[in-house]
Protein backbone atom coordinates (compact mmCIF):
# COMPACT_ATOMS: atom_id res chain seq x y z
CA UNK A 1 0.00 0.00 0.00
CA UNK A 2 1.94 3.01 -1.19
CA UNK A 3 -0.69 5.38 0.12
CA UNK A 4 0.40 4.54 3.65
CA UNK A 5 3.65 6.41 3.31
CA UNK A 6 2.05 9.77 2.60
CA UNK A 7 1.92 12.23 5.49
CA UNK A 8 -1.89 12.42 5.58
CA UNK A 9 -4.34 11.92 8.41
CA UNK A 10 -5.73 8.47 9.13
CA UNK A 11 -9.25 9.32 7.97
CA UNK A 12 -7.98 10.65 4.64
CA UNK A 13 -5.94 7.53 4.06
CA UNK A 14 -8.95 5.37 4.94
CA UNK A 15 -11.11 7.23 2.41
CA UNK A 16 -8.46 6.88 -0.29
CA UNK A 17 -8.13 3.15 0.24
CA UNK A 18 -11.86 2.47 0.31
CA UNK A 19 -12.30 4.44 -2.91
CA UNK A 20 -9.79 2.11 -4.53
CA UNK A 21 -6.72 4.38 -4.69
CA UNK A 22 -3.89 2.26 -3.41
CA UNK A 23 -0.95 3.52 -5.41
CA UNK A 24 0.57 6.95 -5.87
CA UNK A 25 0.22 6.73 -9.67
CA UNK A 26 -3.55 6.30 -9.51
CA UNK A 27 -4.00 9.37 -7.31
CA UNK A 28 -1.75 11.65 -9.29
CA UNK A 29 -3.59 10.93 -12.52
CA UNK A 30 -6.93 12.29 -11.28
CA UNK A 31 -8.11 15.86 -11.19
CA UNK A 32 -8.93 17.57 -7.87
CA UNK A 33 -12.64 17.88 -8.57
CA UNK A 34 -12.88 14.21 -9.50
CA UNK A 35 -11.00 13.23 -6.36
CA UNK A 36 -13.26 15.43 -4.25
CA UNK A 37 -16.34 13.67 -5.67
CA UNK A 38 -14.92 10.20 -5.14
CA UNK A 39 -13.79 10.74 -1.58
CA UNK A 40 -16.71 12.95 -0.65
CA UNK A 41 -14.45 15.71 0.69
CA UNK A 42 -14.16 19.39 -0.08
CA UNK A 43 -12.18 20.44 -3.13
CA UNK A 44 -9.60 22.24 -0.96
CA UNK A 45 -8.87 19.05 0.89
CA UNK A 46 -8.54 17.16 -2.39
CA UNK A 47 -6.09 19.80 -3.62
CA UNK A 48 -4.04 19.41 -0.45
CA UNK A 49 -3.92 15.64 -0.86
CA UNK A 50 -2.76 15.98 -4.45
CA UNK A 51 -0.10 18.46 -3.39
CA UNK A 52 1.24 15.98 -0.83
CA UNK A 53 1.37 13.29 -3.47
CA UNK A 54 3.10 15.43 -6.05
CA UNK A 55 5.68 16.68 -3.51
CA UNK A 56 6.64 13.13 -2.81
CA UNK A 57 6.84 12.01 -6.40
CA UNK A 58 8.65 15.13 -7.57
CA UNK A 59 11.61 14.03 -5.52
CA UNK A 60 11.83 10.88 -7.57
CA UNK A 61 11.57 12.53 -10.94
CA UNK A 62 14.21 15.16 -10.40
CA UNK A 63 16.92 12.84 -9.12
CA UNK A 64 19.78 13.13 -11.52
CA UNK A 65 21.86 10.35 -12.93
CA UNK A 66 24.64 11.04 -10.44
CA UNK A 67 25.32 8.45 -7.85
CA UNK A 68 24.00 10.59 -5.01
CA UNK A 69 20.29 10.56 -4.17
CA UNK A 70 18.32 13.75 -3.76
CA UNK A 71 18.92 15.44 -0.43
CA UNK A 72 22.01 13.45 0.46
CA UNK A 73 25.60 14.54 0.78
CA UNK A 74 28.61 12.36 0.37
CA UNK A 75 30.83 12.04 3.41
CA UNK A 76 33.72 13.64 1.54
CA UNK A 77 31.74 16.82 0.84
CA UNK A 78 30.66 16.96 4.46
CA UNK A 79 34.27 16.63 5.59
CA UNK A 80 35.40 19.48 3.33
CA UNK A 81 32.55 21.60 4.61
CA UNK A 82 33.41 20.83 8.21
CA UNK A 83 37.10 21.51 7.82
CA UNK A 84 36.57 24.88 6.21
CA UNK A 85 33.53 26.30 7.95
CA UNK A 86 33.38 24.68 11.36
CA UNK A 87 32.37 27.19 13.98
CA UNK A 88 32.67 26.84 17.69
CA UNK A 89 31.32 28.95 20.52
CA UNK A 90 33.95 29.34 23.19
CA UNK A 91 33.02 28.69 26.81
CA UNK A 92 35.71 31.07 28.14
CA UNK A 93 37.43 28.20 29.90
CA UNK A 94 40.44 26.96 27.96
CA UNK A 95 40.40 23.42 29.41
CA UNK A 96 36.75 22.94 28.60
CA UNK A 97 37.22 24.30 25.09
CA UNK A 98 40.07 21.91 24.44
CA UNK A 99 38.12 18.79 25.35
CA UNK A 100 35.21 20.02 23.23
CA UNK A 101 37.44 20.52 20.23
CA UNK A 102 37.24 24.32 20.32
CA UNK A 103 33.94 24.90 22.07
CA UNK A 104 30.27 24.13 21.59
CA UNK A 105 29.87 23.41 17.90
CA UNK A 106 27.11 24.75 15.73
CA UNK A 107 24.86 22.30 13.82
CA UNK A 108 24.89 19.96 16.82
CA UNK A 109 22.72 19.44 19.86
CA UNK A 110 24.73 19.44 23.09
CA UNK A 111 23.18 18.34 26.35
CA UNK A 112 24.71 19.51 29.62
CA UNK A 113 23.51 18.05 32.88
CA UNK A 114 24.50 18.19 36.52
CA UNK A 115 23.50 18.47 40.15
CA UNK A 116 21.91 21.70 41.33
CA UNK A 117 24.46 24.43 41.98
CA UNK A 118 27.15 23.12 39.70
CA UNK A 119 26.91 25.98 37.26
CA UNK A 120 24.56 24.96 34.45
CA UNK A 121 22.69 28.26 34.27
CA UNK A 122 26.01 30.12 34.60
CA UNK A 123 27.33 28.19 31.62
CA UNK A 124 24.15 28.92 29.69
CA UNK A 125 24.43 32.66 30.31
CA UNK A 126 28.14 32.60 29.47
CA UNK A 127 27.40 30.94 26.12
CA UNK A 128 24.63 33.45 25.38
CA UNK A 129 27.18 36.23 25.85
CA UNK A 130 30.10 34.50 24.12
CA UNK A 131 28.18 33.78 20.92
CA UNK A 132 28.07 37.55 20.37
CA UNK A 133 31.84 38.07 20.34
CA UNK A 134 32.61 39.64 16.94
CA UNK A 135 34.69 37.93 14.24
CA UNK A 136 37.66 40.19 14.90
CA UNK A 137 38.03 38.77 18.38
CA UNK A 138 37.73 35.16 17.27
CA UNK A 139 34.03 34.72 17.89
CA UNK A 140 31.13 34.19 15.52
CA UNK A 141 29.18 37.42 15.96
CA UNK A 142 25.75 35.89 16.41
CA UNK A 143 22.69 36.35 18.60
CA UNK A 144 21.24 34.05 21.21
CA UNK A 145 17.83 32.67 22.13
CA UNK A 146 17.43 31.84 25.81
CA UNK A 147 14.40 29.75 26.76
CA UNK A 148 13.91 29.80 30.50
CA UNK A 149 11.61 27.23 32.11
CA UNK A 150 12.67 27.59 35.73
CA UNK A 151 13.00 31.34 36.08
CA UNK A 152 16.69 31.17 36.90
CA UNK A 153 17.93 33.71 34.34
CA UNK A 154 19.06 36.86 36.13
CA UNK A 155 19.53 39.92 33.96
CA UNK A 156 21.91 41.45 36.49
CA UNK A 157 24.19 38.42 36.31
CA UNK A 158 24.08 38.51 32.52
CA UNK A 159 25.07 42.19 32.69
CA UNK A 160 27.96 41.32 35.00
CA UNK A 161 29.22 38.61 32.65
CA UNK A 162 28.79 40.92 29.64
CA UNK A 163 30.80 43.64 31.38
CA UNK A 164 33.62 41.18 32.06
CA UNK A 165 33.52 40.01 28.46
CA UNK A 166 33.67 43.48 26.96
CA UNK A 167 36.45 44.37 29.40
CA UNK A 168 38.43 41.34 28.19
CA UNK A 169 37.81 42.29 24.57
CA UNK A 170 39.01 45.86 25.17
CA UNK A 171 42.18 44.56 26.81
CA UNK A 172 42.77 42.15 23.93
CA UNK A 173 42.41 44.93 21.38
CA UNK A 174 44.74 47.12 23.36
CA UNK A 175 47.46 44.46 23.46
CA UNK A 176 47.20 43.08 19.94
CA UNK A 177 45.90 45.87 17.77
CA UNK A 178 48.32 48.67 18.33
CA UNK A 179 48.26 51.82 16.25
CA UNK A 180 45.56 53.14 13.93
CA UNK A 181 43.95 49.74 13.59
CA UNK A 182 42.76 49.90 17.18
CA UNK A 183 40.26 52.66 16.39
CA UNK A 184 38.54 50.68 13.62
CA UNK A 185 37.85 47.59 15.65
CA UNK A 186 34.41 47.79 17.16
CA UNK A 187 34.05 47.32 20.89
CA UNK A 188 30.75 46.15 22.29
CA UNK A 189 29.11 47.71 25.27
CA UNK A 190 27.50 45.45 27.92
CA UNK A 191 24.10 46.86 26.95
CA UNK A 192 24.56 45.65 23.37
CA UNK A 193 25.21 42.15 24.63
CA UNK A 194 21.93 42.09 26.50
CA UNK A 195 20.04 43.45 23.50
CA UNK A 196 21.07 40.49 21.40
CA UNK A 197 19.69 37.84 23.74
CA UNK A 198 16.09 36.88 22.90
CA UNK A 199 14.51 35.70 26.12
CA UNK A 200 11.43 33.45 26.33
CA UNK A 201 9.81 32.35 29.56
CA UNK A 202 7.70 29.18 29.38
CA UNK A 203 5.44 28.04 32.18
CA UNK A 204 4.06 24.68 31.06
CA UNK A 205 5.01 21.82 28.82
CA UNK A 206 2.50 22.76 26.14
CA UNK A 207 4.12 26.19 25.93
CA UNK A 208 7.47 24.48 25.60
CA UNK A 209 6.29 22.33 22.70
CA UNK A 210 4.62 25.32 21.04
CA UNK A 211 7.79 27.37 21.37
CA UNK A 212 9.93 24.62 19.85
CA UNK A 213 7.58 24.59 16.87
CA UNK A 214 7.56 28.39 16.69
CA UNK A 215 11.36 28.55 16.50
CA UNK A 216 11.07 27.08 13.02
CA UNK A 217 9.55 30.39 11.89
CA UNK A 218 11.42 32.67 14.27
CA UNK A 219 14.96 31.72 13.30
CA UNK A 220 14.68 32.44 9.55
CA UNK A 221 13.43 35.93 10.44
CA UNK A 222 16.44 36.53 12.68
CA UNK A 223 19.23 35.02 10.67
CA UNK A 224 21.93 36.04 13.12
CA UNK A 225 20.78 33.64 15.80
CA UNK A 226 23.53 31.13 16.33
CA UNK A 227 22.66 29.46 19.62
CA UNK A 228 19.45 28.28 21.27
CA UNK A 229 19.80 27.58 24.99
CA UNK A 230 16.98 25.78 26.78
CA UNK A 231 17.49 26.16 30.50
CA UNK A 232 16.20 23.04 31.97
CA UNK A 233 14.37 21.11 29.38
CA UNK A 234 13.31 18.74 32.16
CA UNK A 235 11.50 21.03 34.53
CA UNK A 236 7.98 20.78 33.11
CA UNK A 237 8.22 17.11 32.31
CA UNK A 238 9.05 15.88 35.76
CA UNK A 239 5.84 16.69 37.53
CA UNK A 240 2.16 16.33 36.67
CA UNK A 241 2.65 13.79 33.96
CA UNK A 242 0.26 10.89 34.48
CA UNK A 243 0.77 9.18 31.20
CA UNK A 244 4.39 8.07 30.81
CA UNK A 245 3.92 6.78 27.31
CA UNK A 246 2.66 10.21 26.28
CA UNK A 247 5.71 11.80 27.86
CA UNK A 248 8.08 9.58 25.89
CA UNK A 249 6.23 10.35 22.65
CA UNK A 250 6.20 14.08 23.29
CA UNK A 251 9.87 14.15 24.23
CA UNK A 252 10.73 12.11 21.15
CA UNK A 253 8.91 14.64 19.00
CA UNK A 254 10.69 17.58 20.66
CA UNK A 255 14.06 15.89 20.23
CA UNK A 256 13.54 15.39 16.51
CA UNK A 257 12.37 19.00 16.13
CA UNK A 258 15.45 20.37 17.85
CA UNK A 259 17.78 18.21 15.79
CA UNK A 260 16.07 19.39 12.64
CA UNK A 261 16.53 23.02 13.75
CA UNK A 262 20.22 22.51 14.44
CA UNK A 263 20.80 20.84 11.10
CA UNK A 264 18.66 23.13 8.97
CA UNK A 265 19.71 26.52 10.30
CA UNK A 266 23.22 25.69 11.46
CA UNK A 267 22.59 26.81 15.04
CA UNK A 268 24.01 25.26 18.17
CA UNK A 269 21.31 23.88 20.44
CA UNK A 270 22.29 23.62 24.11
CA UNK A 271 19.97 21.71 26.46
CA UNK A 272 20.47 21.93 30.21
CA UNK A 273 19.25 18.91 32.11
CA UNK A 274 18.73 17.91 35.74
CA UNK A 275 19.80 14.71 37.45
CA UNK A 276 17.95 11.87 39.08
CA UNK A 277 18.92 8.79 41.03
CA UNK A 278 18.96 5.47 39.29
CA UNK A 279 19.07 2.14 40.99
CA UNK A 280 21.03 -0.54 39.17
CA UNK A 281 23.15 -3.51 40.18
CA UNK A 282 22.32 -2.99 43.81
CA UNK A 283 23.58 0.59 44.07
CA UNK A 284 22.24 4.05 43.60
CA UNK A 285 23.97 6.43 41.27
CA UNK A 286 23.20 9.72 39.64
CA UNK A 287 22.01 9.79 36.06
CA UNK A 288 20.54 12.48 33.83
CA UNK A 289 16.80 12.90 34.05
CA UNK A 290 14.14 12.06 31.46
CA UNK A 291 15.19 8.47 31.10
CA UNK A 292 17.31 6.48 28.68
CA UNK A 293 15.12 7.28 25.71
CA UNK A 294 16.12 10.94 25.98
CA UNK A 295 19.78 10.07 25.63
CA UNK A 296 19.20 9.85 21.94
CA UNK A 297 18.12 13.46 21.64
CA UNK A 298 21.56 14.99 21.77
CA UNK A 299 24.68 14.64 19.70
CA UNK A 300 27.03 15.28 22.61
CA UNK A 301 26.41 14.81 26.29
CA UNK A 302 28.40 16.55 28.99
CA UNK A 303 27.98 15.80 32.67
CA UNK A 304 29.07 18.37 35.26
CA UNK A 305 30.06 17.04 38.66
CA UNK A 306 32.01 17.79 41.79
CA UNK A 307 35.37 16.16 42.29
CA UNK A 308 36.47 16.99 45.78
CA UNK A 309 36.18 20.73 45.86
CA UNK A 310 36.48 21.40 42.17
CA UNK A 311 33.94 21.47 39.40
CA UNK A 312 34.58 19.07 36.55
CA UNK A 313 33.00 18.57 33.16
CA UNK A 314 33.03 15.09 31.67
CA UNK A 315 32.11 14.11 28.09
CA UNK A 316 29.73 11.22 28.45
CA UNK A 317 28.60 10.58 24.90
CA UNK A 318 29.88 11.89 21.61
CA UNK A 319 30.30 10.42 18.13
CA UNK A 320 33.56 12.21 17.46
CA UNK A 321 35.02 13.62 20.68
CA UNK A 322 37.17 11.58 22.95
CA UNK A 323 35.88 10.83 26.40
CA UNK A 324 37.74 13.28 28.67
CA UNK A 325 37.23 15.50 31.63
CA UNK A 326 38.27 19.04 32.43
CA UNK A 327 38.05 21.32 35.47
CA UNK A 328 36.41 24.73 35.35
CA UNK A 329 35.28 27.32 37.84
CA UNK A 330 32.51 29.87 38.27
CA UNK A 331 33.87 33.33 39.04
CA UNK A 332 32.27 36.78 39.25
CA UNK A 333 33.35 37.23 35.64
CA UNK A 334 31.62 34.04 34.52
CA UNK A 335 32.99 30.62 33.65
CA UNK A 336 36.77 30.56 33.69
CA UNK A 337 39.68 28.19 34.03
CA UNK A 338 39.94 26.50 37.34
CA UNK A 339 42.53 27.80 39.77
CA UNK A 340 43.09 26.54 43.26
CA UNK A 341 41.42 29.36 45.14
CA UNK A 342 37.98 29.04 43.49
CA UNK A 343 36.62 26.20 45.50
CA UNK A 344 33.29 25.32 46.94
CA UNK A 345 32.58 27.10 50.17
CA UNK A 346 32.62 24.56 52.94
CA UNK A 347 29.47 24.60 55.01
CA UNK A 348 30.24 23.99 58.63
Amino acid sequence: MEVLRLPLSASQKGKLISAGYTSIASISSTSPSHLALELKVSENEALEILKNVSDGSRLKRTSSSLTVLNGAQSAWDMLQEEETTRVHITTSCADLDSILGGGISCKEVTEIGGVPGIGKTQLGIQLAVNVQIPYDYGGIGGKAIYIDTEGSFMAERALQIAEACSHDMAEYSRLYHKGPQACEVKTMQPKDFLENIFYFRVCSYTEQIALTNYLDEFIPKHKDVKVVIIDSITFHFRQDFDDMALRTRVLGGIALNLMKLARKFGVAVVLLNQVTTKYSDGSFHLALALGDSWSHASTNRIILHWNGDERYAYIDKSPSLRSASAPYSVTPKGIRNSSSNNKRIKHI
Binding site: T22, K60, A72, A245, T248, R249, G252, H296, T299, P319
Partner: protein, 268 residues
Protein backbone atom coordinates in the same frame (compact mmCIF):
# COMPACT_ATOMS: atom_id res chain seq x y z
CA UNK B 1 -4.37 -0.80 -9.25
CA UNK B 2 -7.56 0.80 -8.22
CA UNK B 3 -10.66 1.18 -10.27
CA UNK B 4 -10.98 -0.54 -13.63
CA UNK B 5 -11.94 2.63 -15.44
CA UNK B 6 -8.38 3.99 -15.19
CA UNK B 7 -7.15 1.12 -17.30
CA UNK B 8 -9.24 2.19 -20.29
CA UNK B 9 -6.69 4.85 -21.11
CA UNK B 10 -3.82 2.44 -21.49
CA UNK B 11 -5.36 -0.81 -22.71
CA UNK B 12 -7.57 -0.84 -25.79
CA UNK B 13 -9.36 -4.09 -25.03
CA UNK B 14 -10.73 -2.76 -21.78
CA UNK B 15 -13.41 -0.50 -23.23
CA UNK B 16 -16.80 0.77 -22.17
CA UNK B 17 -18.63 -2.47 -23.09
CA UNK B 18 -16.23 -4.47 -20.99
CA UNK B 19 -16.70 -2.11 -18.07
CA UNK B 20 -20.46 -2.44 -18.36
CA UNK B 21 -20.16 -6.23 -18.47
CA UNK B 22 -18.03 -6.18 -15.33
CA UNK B 23 -20.40 -3.78 -13.62
CA UNK B 24 -23.23 -6.22 -14.26
CA UNK B 25 -21.31 -8.75 -12.17
CA UNK B 26 -20.52 -6.17 -9.48
CA UNK B 27 -16.86 -5.78 -10.45
CA UNK B 28 -15.61 -2.18 -10.21
CA UNK B 29 -11.97 -2.58 -9.34
CA UNK B 30 -9.14 -5.00 -9.85
CA UNK B 31 -9.58 -6.35 -6.34
CA UNK B 32 -13.19 -7.28 -7.13
CA UNK B 33 -12.02 -9.00 -10.29
CA UNK B 34 -9.53 -11.10 -8.41
CA UNK B 35 -12.05 -12.17 -5.85
CA UNK B 36 -14.60 -13.17 -8.46
CA UNK B 37 -14.57 -16.61 -10.06
CA UNK B 38 -12.93 -16.23 -13.49
CA UNK B 39 -14.55 -19.34 -15.01
CA UNK B 40 -18.02 -18.12 -14.14
CA UNK B 41 -17.14 -14.79 -15.73
CA UNK B 42 -15.88 -16.44 -18.93
CA UNK B 43 -18.97 -18.67 -19.10
CA UNK B 44 -21.31 -15.71 -18.83
CA UNK B 45 -19.25 -13.82 -21.43
CA UNK B 46 -19.82 -16.71 -23.88
CA UNK B 47 -23.53 -16.13 -23.75
CA UNK B 48 -23.30 -12.54 -24.93
CA UNK B 49 -22.90 -11.34 -28.53
CA UNK B 50 -19.48 -9.70 -28.24
CA UNK B 51 -17.98 -12.63 -26.36
CA UNK B 52 -14.62 -12.46 -28.16
CA UNK B 53 -14.01 -8.85 -27.17
CA UNK B 54 -14.99 -9.60 -23.61
CA UNK B 55 -12.74 -12.63 -23.40
CA UNK B 56 -9.91 -10.48 -24.77
CA UNK B 57 -10.56 -8.00 -22.01
CA UNK B 58 -10.49 -10.71 -19.35
CA UNK B 59 -7.20 -12.09 -20.69
CA UNK B 60 -5.72 -8.62 -20.76
CA UNK B 61 -6.58 -8.10 -17.12
CA UNK B 62 -5.10 -11.45 -16.18
CA UNK B 63 -1.86 -10.63 -17.99
CA UNK B 64 -1.58 -7.28 -16.20
CA UNK B 65 -1.96 -9.02 -12.89
CA UNK B 66 0.60 -11.62 -13.91
CA UNK B 67 3.27 -8.95 -14.33
CA UNK B 68 2.66 -7.55 -10.88
CA UNK B 69 3.34 -10.52 -8.65
CA UNK B 70 6.62 -12.26 -7.90
CA UNK B 71 7.46 -15.27 -10.08
CA UNK B 72 7.49 -18.69 -8.48
CA UNK B 73 11.01 -20.08 -7.91
CA UNK B 74 12.20 -23.49 -6.87
CA UNK B 75 14.79 -24.48 -4.26
CA UNK B 76 17.62 -24.93 -6.78
CA UNK B 77 17.24 -21.42 -8.12
CA UNK B 78 17.22 -20.08 -4.58
CA UNK B 79 20.38 -22.01 -3.73
CA UNK B 80 22.16 -20.67 -6.79
CA UNK B 81 21.11 -17.17 -5.94
CA UNK B 82 22.37 -17.65 -2.39
CA UNK B 83 25.77 -18.88 -3.57
CA UNK B 84 26.32 -16.28 -6.23
CA UNK B 85 24.79 -13.15 -4.81
CA UNK B 86 24.32 -13.40 -1.10
CA UNK B 87 27.80 -13.16 0.35
CA UNK B 88 28.85 -11.80 3.71
CA UNK B 89 30.22 -8.30 4.16
CA UNK B 90 33.02 -8.11 6.67
CA UNK B 91 32.39 -5.71 9.51
CA UNK B 92 36.03 -4.79 9.97
CA UNK B 93 36.28 -6.34 13.41
CA UNK B 94 37.41 -9.94 13.81
CA UNK B 95 35.26 -10.74 16.82
CA UNK B 96 32.13 -9.35 15.18
CA UNK B 97 32.83 -11.35 12.06
CA UNK B 98 33.21 -14.48 14.14
CA UNK B 99 29.98 -13.80 15.98
CA UNK B 100 28.11 -13.24 12.72
CA UNK B 101 29.83 -16.22 11.06
CA UNK B 102 31.47 -14.29 8.31
CA UNK B 103 29.99 -10.84 8.61
CA UNK B 104 26.79 -9.07 7.69
CA UNK B 105 24.84 -11.28 5.36
CA UNK B 106 23.64 -9.67 2.14
CA UNK B 107 19.89 -9.98 1.81
CA UNK B 108 19.27 -9.87 5.54
CA UNK B 109 18.51 -7.06 7.94
CA UNK B 110 20.87 -7.16 10.91
CA UNK B 111 19.92 -5.22 14.02
CA UNK B 112 22.28 -3.99 16.75
CA UNK B 113 20.48 -3.34 20.00
CA UNK B 114 21.87 -1.71 23.10
CA UNK B 115 21.53 0.98 25.74
CA UNK B 116 22.85 4.48 25.25
CA UNK B 117 26.61 5.02 24.91
CA UNK B 118 27.24 1.34 24.25
CA UNK B 119 28.96 1.99 20.94
CA UNK B 120 26.21 1.46 18.36
CA UNK B 121 27.06 4.55 16.34
CA UNK B 122 30.74 3.66 16.40
CA UNK B 123 29.95 0.18 15.05
CA UNK B 124 27.86 1.76 12.29
CA UNK B 125 30.78 4.05 11.39
CA UNK B 126 33.24 1.17 11.42
CA UNK B 127 31.15 -1.09 9.19
CA UNK B 128 30.32 1.76 6.80
CA UNK B 129 33.99 2.74 6.48
CA UNK B 130 35.07 -0.84 5.92
CA UNK B 131 32.50 -1.50 3.20
CA UNK B 132 33.08 1.89 1.56
CA UNK B 133 36.81 1.28 1.33
CA UNK B 134 36.74 -2.26 0.04
CA UNK B 135 33.42 -3.09 -1.53
CA UNK B 136 31.20 -0.32 -2.78
CA UNK B 137 28.80 2.44 -1.95
CA UNK B 138 27.06 2.87 1.36
CA UNK B 139 23.82 4.70 2.15
CA UNK B 140 23.94 6.05 5.71
CA UNK B 141 20.63 7.24 7.12
CA UNK B 142 21.21 9.26 10.26
CA UNK B 143 18.32 10.14 12.54
CA UNK B 144 20.22 11.61 15.44
CA UNK B 145 22.57 14.25 14.04
CA UNK B 146 25.44 11.97 14.95
CA UNK B 147 27.17 11.47 11.63
CA UNK B 148 30.64 12.87 12.03
CA UNK B 149 32.91 13.10 8.97
CA UNK B 150 36.01 13.66 11.12
CA UNK B 151 35.44 10.40 12.92
CA UNK B 152 34.95 8.53 9.64
CA UNK B 153 38.21 10.04 8.42
CA UNK B 154 39.99 8.75 11.54
CA UNK B 155 38.56 5.26 11.08
CA UNK B 156 39.41 5.06 7.38
CA UNK B 157 42.96 6.23 8.10
CA UNK B 158 43.35 3.55 10.72
CA UNK B 159 41.91 0.75 8.57
CA UNK B 160 44.05 1.61 5.58
CA UNK B 161 47.07 1.47 7.81
CA UNK B 162 49.04 3.94 5.76
CA UNK B 163 50.78 7.11 6.80
CA UNK B 164 48.84 10.39 7.26
CA UNK B 165 50.05 12.16 4.16
CA UNK B 166 49.68 9.28 1.74
CA UNK B 167 46.17 8.33 2.66
CA UNK B 168 44.47 11.21 0.80
CA UNK B 169 43.56 9.32 -2.38
CA UNK B 170 42.11 6.31 -0.56
CA UNK B 171 40.32 8.62 1.87
CA UNK B 172 38.65 10.61 -0.86
CA UNK B 173 37.51 7.52 -2.72
CA UNK B 174 36.15 5.85 0.39
CA UNK B 175 34.34 8.92 1.67
CA UNK B 176 32.83 9.62 -1.71
CA UNK B 177 31.27 6.19 -1.45
CA UNK B 178 29.32 7.07 1.69
CA UNK B 179 26.12 9.08 1.20
CA UNK B 180 24.60 10.54 4.30
CA UNK B 181 20.91 11.37 4.65
CA UNK B 182 19.59 13.23 7.67
CA UNK B 183 16.02 12.18 8.40
CA UNK B 184 13.92 13.43 11.29
CA UNK B 185 10.61 11.64 10.89
CA UNK B 186 9.39 8.31 9.62
CA UNK B 187 7.81 9.76 6.45
CA UNK B 188 11.17 11.19 5.40
CA UNK B 189 12.72 7.76 5.98
CA UNK B 190 10.08 6.11 3.80
CA UNK B 191 10.71 8.71 1.10
CA UNK B 192 14.44 8.04 1.10
CA UNK B 193 13.92 4.28 0.91
CA UNK B 194 11.42 4.58 -1.93
CA UNK B 195 13.76 6.90 -3.81
CA UNK B 196 16.55 4.40 -3.35
CA UNK B 197 14.31 1.63 -4.62
CA UNK B 198 13.36 3.49 -7.77
CA UNK B 199 16.98 4.54 -8.46
CA UNK B 200 18.13 0.93 -8.09
CA UNK B 201 15.38 -0.30 -10.39
CA UNK B 202 15.75 2.32 -13.09
CA UNK B 203 19.42 3.34 -13.28
CA UNK B 204 21.76 0.70 -14.56
CA UNK B 205 24.95 2.02 -13.02
CA UNK B 206 23.69 2.83 -9.55
CA UNK B 207 24.43 0.16 -7.03
CA UNK B 208 24.55 0.13 -3.25
CA UNK B 209 26.16 -2.53 -1.05
CA UNK B 210 25.12 -1.48 2.42
CA UNK B 211 22.33 0.54 4.01
CA UNK B 212 22.86 1.73 7.60
CA UNK B 213 19.99 3.21 9.58
CA UNK B 214 21.45 4.73 12.72
CA UNK B 215 18.81 4.53 15.30
CA UNK B 216 15.54 3.60 13.82
CA UNK B 217 14.09 3.66 17.33
CA UNK B 218 14.01 7.44 17.56
CA UNK B 219 11.92 7.63 14.40
CA UNK B 220 9.40 5.01 15.40
CA UNK B 221 8.98 5.68 19.13
CA UNK B 222 7.04 8.95 18.70
CA UNK B 223 4.43 7.37 16.43
CA UNK B 224 3.63 4.23 18.38
CA UNK B 225 0.97 4.07 21.02
CA UNK B 226 -1.63 6.59 21.91
CA UNK B 227 -4.75 6.97 19.84
CA UNK B 228 -2.81 6.85 16.59
CA UNK B 229 -3.23 3.39 15.10
CA UNK B 230 -1.11 4.14 12.05
CA UNK B 231 2.12 3.84 13.99
CA UNK B 232 2.28 0.07 13.85
CA UNK B 233 1.42 0.03 10.15
CA UNK B 234 4.21 2.49 9.42
CA UNK B 235 6.68 0.49 11.46
CA UNK B 236 5.78 -2.69 9.62
CA UNK B 237 6.03 -0.99 6.23
CA UNK B 238 9.52 0.32 7.06
CA UNK B 239 10.61 -3.18 8.02
CA UNK B 240 9.06 -4.67 4.93
CA UNK B 241 10.67 -2.11 2.64
CA UNK B 242 14.12 -2.69 4.15
CA UNK B 243 13.82 -6.44 3.71
CA UNK B 244 12.61 -6.05 0.13
CA UNK B 245 15.53 -3.78 -0.75
CA UNK B 246 17.97 -6.19 0.89
CA UNK B 247 16.67 -9.24 -0.89
CA UNK B 248 15.92 -7.94 -4.37
CA UNK B 249 18.98 -5.79 -4.83
CA UNK B 250 21.56 -7.80 -2.89
CA UNK B 251 22.24 -5.25 -0.19
CA UNK B 252 23.07 -5.80 3.46
CA UNK B 253 21.06 -3.69 5.87
CA UNK B 254 22.32 -2.67 9.31
CA UNK B 255 19.90 -1.12 11.77
CA UNK B 256 20.68 0.17 15.24
CA UNK B 257 18.12 0.30 18.01
CA UNK B 258 18.23 2.01 21.37
CA UNK B 259 16.82 0.01 24.25
CA UNK B 260 15.47 1.67 27.31
CA UNK B 261 13.83 0.24 30.38
CA UNK B 262 10.10 0.63 30.82
CA UNK B 263 9.11 3.81 32.54
CA UNK B 264 7.57 2.88 35.85
CA UNK B 265 5.66 5.40 37.89
CA UNK B 266 8.47 6.08 40.36
CA UNK B 267 11.53 6.19 38.17
CA UNK B 268 11.44 9.57 36.44
Amino acid sequence: MGALKYLTVKYASIDADFLQFCASHGIFSVEDFLVHDVYVLVASAEKLSNSDRLKQGINQLLSIIETLHQPWVNGLVLLEDREQNKHCLSTGGKSFDMLLQGGLRVGHVTEFVGPSSSGKTQICFQVASNVAMKLGSVVFIDSGNSFSPTRIKQIVTRISGSVENRVHGILQQAMRNIECHAVFDVYALLNVLHQLKSSLESQAGYKARLIVVDSISSLIAPILGGSNAQGYALMVSVGYLLKKLADRHNIAVLVSYLTFCCLLAGSI
